[in-house]
């Protein structure tokens, strides 16, 4: 029996290529977003490890107030290699613009054996020379060969930038602010002659690197609270790859939102299918198929499309993840690279296929429960009884075509609800994006942002994807609506509706339906923004929300977009010829 059901499902896919392609595209977008979210951090792991190896990185890196404390930690059991404690001073780079930028400078004595800066340009530090951490140099737009002034106790000290370097223990500037630079010990003493103003760092290699977190915990416990910090190599890696965190949070949220839209689209498409195939389903039931088996055909169809979408989405997501993680490249020896895991494919399948299958099942379950005779005779389902709310809304319509269109749209209650949900989600994401832009605009002029350049681009891209998906779904739904109602359009024209009235009834009804969801999307979008902000930043202090006139544009723009999207199917509605439509009976 399952073979028969599968055959029917594949026939359904083949005969409705547009709807099948739309389902695959939306589900693939969900999978891509999910795969990028779970892989983005992994794309930086190998490049970080390469950087760590090149630097002969520290399994444990301790920062202490005195050299004696640093030596005490270095003397603990389990340490196999150690550097001499390195002094660090806090100072400022004076920019040509007159602004100053805080920076930590480390005074090196020769090339450290552990946790050495990995040169990316120029040379090692030498007298009167400074090596800038690469992300700091890029953010300040300072190249090798230029001269900068470092604020010192005895006034500004001019230093040549002799090189740039990276360190596996140093996260990207300005997310990690102040930045880091390396000098010779002599130069450091000229900048800050008072050793009492220095702090110290010591880099250690352990016999068993896996014990680094435990070593760090024990070392910290020997000192009064808040006096020393000891980071294991795992903690250094997590901090270095933390650029991925806000992207992961945003992508996870977008994945959930895209899933809602995907569920809406599948529910609408399957619902429309069961409506247009009412007689066919009746015939299948007449030949002995149970309602459950009818639903199963749609479940198999949607699950198959979900599987295809999972593979496509996985490939797209895995290829796109390193591009999205480009921000991390500033502190790594090589750019982020694809980190394909079959588990991620499995995760995508587990997340997406059930959503599509359940949506198809719920949408087809009710449609499959009708009288066989009624289905075969009428060929179309009985319209659901009209709710008072839908009557009231239809009465508010300013003209007869709008009233007729709204009445019809609201008669298909589930479809209207799903459509409204998809529009609400899209509007909420627009509000979210506007708030992100407002936050970026609110930065003081000249301030270096800790937001990776790729993040706003990613948000705009996801926003565009969601918008395109929703509008495409809207076009498909409106086209299906025209196909279902071709006879009604014929009748209405026979009574006296002009072609323009017919088109207007479709456009106006969908546009009117979009108004309430567009309004609801404002508070929802603000809540989404605050939620994601809190998840990524830890709190919502000082959060910037888009100004009200930006937000007010959403309930204007969304219905206009809906009107534009439905104008194409509206042309089909206006071109329905009465004689042709009546022949449908």
């Amino acid at each position: 029996m399952i073979l028969v059901l599968a055959r029917l499902a594949f026939a359904g896919i083949r005969t409705r290529l547009l709807a099948s392609a739309l389902t695959i595209a939306i589900a693939a977008a969900v999978v891509s977003s999910l795969v990028i979210a779970v892989e983005i951090r992994a794309t930086g792991v190998t490049p970080w490890q390469r950087t760590f190896d090149a630097a002969h990185g520290a399994h444990v890196l301790a920062n202490t107030p005195t050299a004696a404390d640093a030596r005490a930690i270095a003397a603990r059991p389990g340490v196999t290699e150690r550097t001499e404690p390195t002094p660090i001073a806090s100072t400022q780079i004076e920019l040509d613009s007159g602004d100053t930028v805080d920076v930590f400078v480390a005074g090196l004595e020769g090339h450290p054996s552990v946790n050495a800066p990995v040169s990316t340009d120029g040379t090692s530090p030498r007298d009167d020379g400074i090596v800038l951490e690469r992300s700091l140099a890029e953010a300040l737009n300072i190249g090798v060969g230029t001269t900068i002034n470092l604020a010192g106790t005895n006034g500004p000290t001019p230093l040549h930038v002799v090189g740039t370097a990276i360190s596996p223990a140093q996260p990207r500037y300005p997310r990690s602010n102040p930045g880091l630079a390396w000098l010779t010990r002599d130069t450091l003493q000229r900048i800050q002659p008072s050793p009492g103003q220095w702090s110290w760092t010591v880099a250690l290699r352990l016999r068993d690197p896996a014990t680094a977190p435990a070593f760090a915990d024990r070392a910290v416990a020997d000192f009064p609270p808040q006096t020393v910090t000891v980071d294991s190599w795992q903690a250094q890696r997590d901090t270095a790859l933390q650029d991925a965190q806000p992207v992961t949070v945003i992508l996870t949220a977008f994945t959930l939102l895209l899933m809602i839209v995907a569920a809406a689209v599948v529910s609408i498409l399957v619902g429309a299918r069961t409506s247009t195939q009412h007689r066919e389903i009746g015939l299948l039931k007449a030949t002995g198929m149970t309602p459950r088996q009818v639903s199963l055909v749609f479940v198999i169809e949607s699950a198959t499309l979900g599987l295809v979408a999972s593979v496509i989405g996985f490939a797209v997501g895995a290829a796109a993840a390193p591009q999205v993680a480009t921000a991390s490249a500033a502190t790594l020896l090589s750019p982020p690279q694809t980190a394909i895991s079959p588990w991620h494919l499995l995760l995508a399948v587990v997340a997406v296929v059930p959503v599509l299958a359940i949506s198809a099942y719920l949408s087809s379950r009710r449609a499959a429960r009708f009288g066989v005779l009624q289905a075969i005779h009428s060929g179309e389902p009985k319209p659901a009884p009209r709710a008072r709310l839908s009557r009231a809304i239809a009465r508010l319509a300013p003209s007869l075509p709008v009233q007729v269109g709204l009445t019809d749209l609201l008669a298909r209650r589930r479809r209207a609800i799903w459509l409204a949900a998809a529009i609400t989600v899209t509007g909420a994401v627009l509000v979210f994006t506007l708030s992100v832009q407002a936050a970026l605009n609110a930065r003081p002029a000249g301030e270096i942002s800790d937001v990776p350049t790729e993040l706003p681009v990613l948000i705009y891209t996801l926003d565009a994807v969601l918008l395109v998906m929703t509008l495409t779904a809207l076009v498909a739904v409106a086209l299906l609506s025209v196909r279902e109602r071709i006879r009604d359009f014929g009748i209405l024209k026979a009574i006296g509706l002009t072609p323009r009235d017919s088109g207007a009834s479709l456009v106006a009804a969908h546009t009117a339906l979009a108004i309430a969801p567009a309004l609801i999307s404002i508070p929802l979008g603000v809540a989404l923004y605050l939620g994601i902000y809190a998840a990524a930043a830890g709190d919502t202090d000082g959060v910037d929300i888009a100004p009200w006139w930006w937000l007010a544009s959403v309930p204007i723009a969304l219905p206009l977009l809906v009107a534009a999207a439905t104008s194409l199917p509206a042309r089909a509605a206006s071109h329905v010829r009465v004689a042709q439509a009546i022949r449908y009976e």
Binding site: S378, E380, K382, P383, P385, R386, L400, V404, T407, D408, A411, R487, D488, G490, I491, L492, K493, A494, I495, G496, L497, T498, P499, R500, D501, R577, V578, A579, I582, E585
Partner: protein, 241 residues
């Protein structure tokens, strides 16, 4: 007497898989104000095609359609739709009520289209439904009505604007004999009010109620019987007589 509706040498050819299939082969006829004309003939002879062309639902391949002294076959769809609002009522074989609208909303549709206010449309609708024996059905969904009741609603919708011409395609074709009788009574009543009726039918009882019966075969009018005076009134001569 004025010809309210006139067809001059109407030709309609359908393109079926690249092959021209004639449905009408030069039909000419005139219908006068207040006449009840029935068209009979076997299935596929072109009756419904003729009706669709007269209503402006389709465009002829050749020939002319005149309504109230105006040639309408070249009009735009919008102009034809506006013309139908006030002048033409149409009754379909399968009732063709808009399923998502209630009975009352279906009947009010043409009234609202000609600009009647909602309250006025409701009043007229109530009167019509009362006249047609459907009081209290205003808020009922069409699918809950019997075939006869649905056809009476369809008639109420066609007559709502008191159109000069009522065109009907097999109005009793899908009804039992009792329901068919009711519909026939209503058609007669419309004729008695001075409305012009052009009805395509297989039903001999409907034909018997008409002033004139036209017979069609193979896309041509082949016979005409004036049930009152027994004189044919097809314009011109030749193949159509």
């Amino acid at each position: 007497m004025t010809h309210v509706l006139e067809a001059r040498d109407l030709v309609k050819t359908y393109d079926v898989d690249g092959v021209g299939t004639p449905a009408l082969r030069g039909v000419s006829l005139t219908i006068d104000q207040g006449e009840f004309v029935a068209v009979m003939g076997p299935s596929g002879c072109g009756k419904s095609t003729l009706l669709n062309l007269l209503a402006g639902f389709d465009r002829p391949t050749g020939g002319e359609v005149w309504l109230d002294g105006e040639r309408i076959d070249g009009w735009s769809e919008a102009r034809l739709a506006r013309m139908r609002r006030g002048k033409v009522g149409f009754v379909f074989q399968f009732f063709n009520l808009v399923p998502t609208l209630t009975v009352g909303e279906n009947v009010e549709l043409p009234l609202r289209l000609v600009g009647r206010r909602r309250a006025a449309a409701r009043r007229v609708c109530g009167e019509l439904l009362g006249d047609l024996g459907l009081p209290g059905k205003r808020d009922t969904a069409p699918y809950l009505l019997s075939g006869g009741e649905q056809q009476r609603v369809a008639l109420a919708r066609a007559l709502a604007n008191d159109p000069a011409i009522v065109l009907a395609d097999e109005p009793t074709g899908n009804l039992d004999s009792s329901a068919a009788r009711e519909v026939l009574v209503l058609l007669r009543r419309a004729r008695d009010r001075g409305q012009t009726l052009f009805v395509v039918t297989h039903d001999a009882r409907v034909a018997a109620a008409a002033d004139r019966v036209l017979s069609m075969r193979d896309g041509m009018l082949v016979d005409e019987a004036d049930l009152e005076v027994g004189v044919g009134r097809l314009p011109g001569s030749g193949g159509q007589r």
